[in-house]
């Protein structure tokens, strides 16, 4: 018995990716890894909103952007940029770190937006 042909999974993922990029109305913030440190160490994001963090690793070797508070985990290869989507987050401070080098720590601070 075959549950799904093997081709369906990659096709579905591609479909999802196209679908996802069509909805690209998400605020972006940038985060840089250089000399094994995050800059800035604290990122401000609007609360209760989905946000894209573009993590740019300017070091030559890989890092892993990880957060237990936000359950995020992604390898950022050397000299590369990856996108991590977070939220919507309730107001608060959320720790993140480089799992390949725990000396690098940072925080996402989500603050309520002024009332619309």
């Amino acid at each position: 018995m075959k549950i799904l042909p093997n081709r369906v999974v990659p096709l579905a993922l591609m479909g999802l990716a196209v679908f996802g990029s069509a909805l690209a109305d998400v605020p972006q913030v940038s985060l840089t890894i250089k000399d094994q440190q995050f800059t800035p160490k604290q990122i401000q994001v609007p609360a209760r909103t989905k946000v894209e963090i573009r993590v740019n690793n300017e070091d030559r070797f890989p890092a892993e952007f990880e957060s237990s508070d936000m359950s995020r985990e992604v390898v950022v290869p050397g000299n590369s940029t990856v996108s991590v989507y977070i939220g919507p987050l309730p107001p608060g401070r959320y720790n993140f770190f480089n799992d390949f080098n725990h000396a690098a720590q940072g925080w996402v601070v989500s603050t309520p937006q002024p009332s619309k």
Partner: protein
Amino acid sequence: MFAAAVIVFREVLEAALIISIVLGASRGVAARGRWVAGGVVAGIIGACIVAVSAGVIARSFSNVGQPLLDAGILIAAVLTLSWHNIWMAKHGRSLATQVKALGHDVQTGNKPLTALMVITLTAVMREGSEIVLFLWAIAASGATRFGMLSGSAVGLIAGSLVGVLLYRGLLFIPLRHFFGITSWLILLLTAGLASEAAGFLNQAGLLPALGQGLWNSSAILSQDSVLGQLLHILAGYTARPSGIELVFYLTTLVGVFTLMRTIGRPMREGKPQAAQKTETVSQFP
């Protein structure tokens, strides 16, 4: 050296536990050792390819290539494990009867063996690529080669040892209850992997979180504790699950359970003479 030992241990442990459970669950199937070994080798090769092309993968699909790949590998593992469990629900009882009657492993055809290999491959590939990238990172930041190698060796041996212990432990379960228990273990494992896939798709911005952190049980059982980590690997325990992770977890749990009960219903109990026929397990409609 310590950092290398810890991270290699963590990743090896995850793969080793998955492999020992599926090895246990396919007890009595002849030649499974060879197929699992094949899966390990293929997984290591796959891990190196993923690690070397990490840059290309990261940049693809608008910079969310890596979580997409992770989700894809996990979904492949979920489908294979589900299929394996449904197959075992159908054949487990007759396997147990035959193993008892014949006193040796049973030829079952290639289907469960291919599944075993795919599961092993996906587990080793996912965990292995992280090990390679991590070692690369610490090598570049100036760790000594000796420290790295000895740390990795310690982690590798310790992680595999826990896997062997789990497998040995499983074998203590009486044959009568054996496949019932292993199928529950696989069901929980599968649901955990499905929720992890949902987490990656959410991280890639493709699925809504449906509530980030529905609850926080860190105070009761931290995910960083030994027990928390083991439960995370074995049953997908998450201290702060998101809504979408919960939806995937429950859907997989209920869905696969229902399929096991319906299409995977055991064939009629084998009478002693039926146990002599080794072909009975080779057909799967």
